[in-house]
């Protein structure tokens, strides 16, 4: 009986159909629902590849978006990629991963990757910051990750949800 109850309770947060962090539209999963992505400065949330997907316009004039993610286990190498186009440079960083990099943008959408390590003492919550400064301008269409997932219910994130 207890086992049956456990299955029923767990099924509410255990979806075999949930997309993985390497699947498209991780940005939608990270920014939809109760786990909000926050913008600051000259950054605004808009729609992306379709009118029902998420995208962000950053700059010009400086602005950023912070995307909440969660690690699927501790003490291992993780990486995250952003699909961006624009002009100037875009900064991608995460203090939890001790990762920071800057990339030159073009009119064509390209994937840029940053990587880092999750420390054993980390709570598992990772905030990814994508921003521009000055006259740089960026269009953020999507993200994908390895070792990280969105902060909602997922197989990869069971037991390690961010709060």
């Amino acid at each position: 009986m207890g086992l049956l109850l456990g299955v029923v309770v767990c099924s509410a947060c255990f979806d075999f159909q949930d997309a993985g962090p390497g699947d498209p539209r991780l940005l939608d999963r990270a920014c939809l629902g109760s786990y909000r992505c926050t913008t600051s400065g000259k950054a605004r949330r808009t729609t992306g590849i379709t009118a029902d997907s998420v995208g962000f316009e950053l700059g010009p004039g400086g602005g950023s978006v912070v995307i909440p993610l969660v690690a699927d286990s501790s003490s291992h190498e993780v990486s995250v990629e952003v699909l961006v186009a624009g002009s100037g440079k875009v900064d991608v960083s995460s203090s939890e991963l001790s990762a920071s990099d800057s990339f030159t943008l073009s009119d064509d959408y390209e994937w840029f990757q940053v990587g880092g390590a999750i420390s054993g003492s980390s709570s598992g919550s990772v905030k990814l910051r994508v921003g521009v400064t000055g006259e740089s301008r960026a269009e953020l269409l999507d993200i994908r990750a390895r070792g990280l997932d969105h902060a909602g219910c997922s197989v990869a994130a069971v037991g390690r949800r961010a709060h």
Binding site: A19, R25, T46, G48, A51, E57, L141
Partner: protein, 231 residues
């Protein structure tokens, strides 16, 4: 002796078809007749018969089921970068045309189409749906009594939607292009049925489906299996 024989032959009546010349022992028997003259060439009869079988239609109704191979666009490349390779859609087209002047038919068409792309079974599915409607002018050609060709331009509107969460925004754009259909007669009694195939090519340029991305195109190369009813 030879002279006598020649004299006898000279005095004999001339040979006819029923009377062999004297001395010809291997001549055909009396019942033999000269071969009948050859009949007139059959081509004339067949052509006359084919002309009779040819049907002059006053209207044509068409139903097609097939595939639309999507036109490449700048936004297509963005979708591919994000992991979506949406290159075709299933299509259904209905059309009707009246023959208004000789070989020219004026008509209208409506169609629906739907295509999906999913990089993995768990990934959100990218869906494209279109509804098309417009007018068409066709040149109706009948190279033979059993074959009909339709050839002509199309002009209409297309309402297309691209979505990954099932809630995309509809875009209404101009659609233009042309088609070529070849249909083969499968029934003799009116109304006359044809089966064949229609090849079409349309353009339907659109703004980006979302706020970001690049210009899109809902046009396609259409290849349909088609049933035609001619009345």
């Amino acid at each position: 002796m030879l002279c006598v024989a020649l004299l006898l032959q000279a005095g004999a009546p001339p040979p006819t078809a029923a009377t062999p010349p004297v001395g010809w022992t291997d001549y055909p028997p009396p019942a033999w007749h000269a071969p009948a003259p050859p009949p007139p060439p059959p081509a004339e009869d067949e052509a006359r018969s084919e002309t009779k079988q040819r049907v002059e239609h006053t209207f044509l109704l068409r139903a097609g089921l097939g595939v639309g191979f999507l036109r490449p666009s700048a936004h297509d490349e963005v979708l591919e970068a994000d992991g979506y390779d949406l290159d075709s859609r299933a299509e259904l087209v209905l059309a009707g045309a009246g023959v208004v002047a000789g070989r020219v038919a004026l008509g209208a068409y409506v169609g629906i189409g739907r295509g999906t792309a999913s990089p993995t079974s768990e990934a959100p599915t990218l869906r494209q749906t279109v509804v098309r409607a417009g007018t068409e002018i066709s040149l109706v050609l009948q190279p033979s009594a059993t074959t009909t060709l339709l050839l002509g331009p199309e002009l209409g509107v297309l309402q297309g939607t691209l979505s990954v969460q099932g809630d995309g925004r509809s875009q209404t754009v101009l659609e233009y292009g042309g088609k070529l259909g070849a249909y083969f007669r499968v029934s003799d009694a009116p109304p006359v049925w044809y089966l064949g195939s229609t090849l079409g090519y349309t353009l339907a340029p659109a703004d980006p489906p979302g706020a970001l991305g690049r210009d899109y195109d809902y046009g396609a190369l259409h290849l349909d299996f088609t049933v035609v009813l001619g009345g």
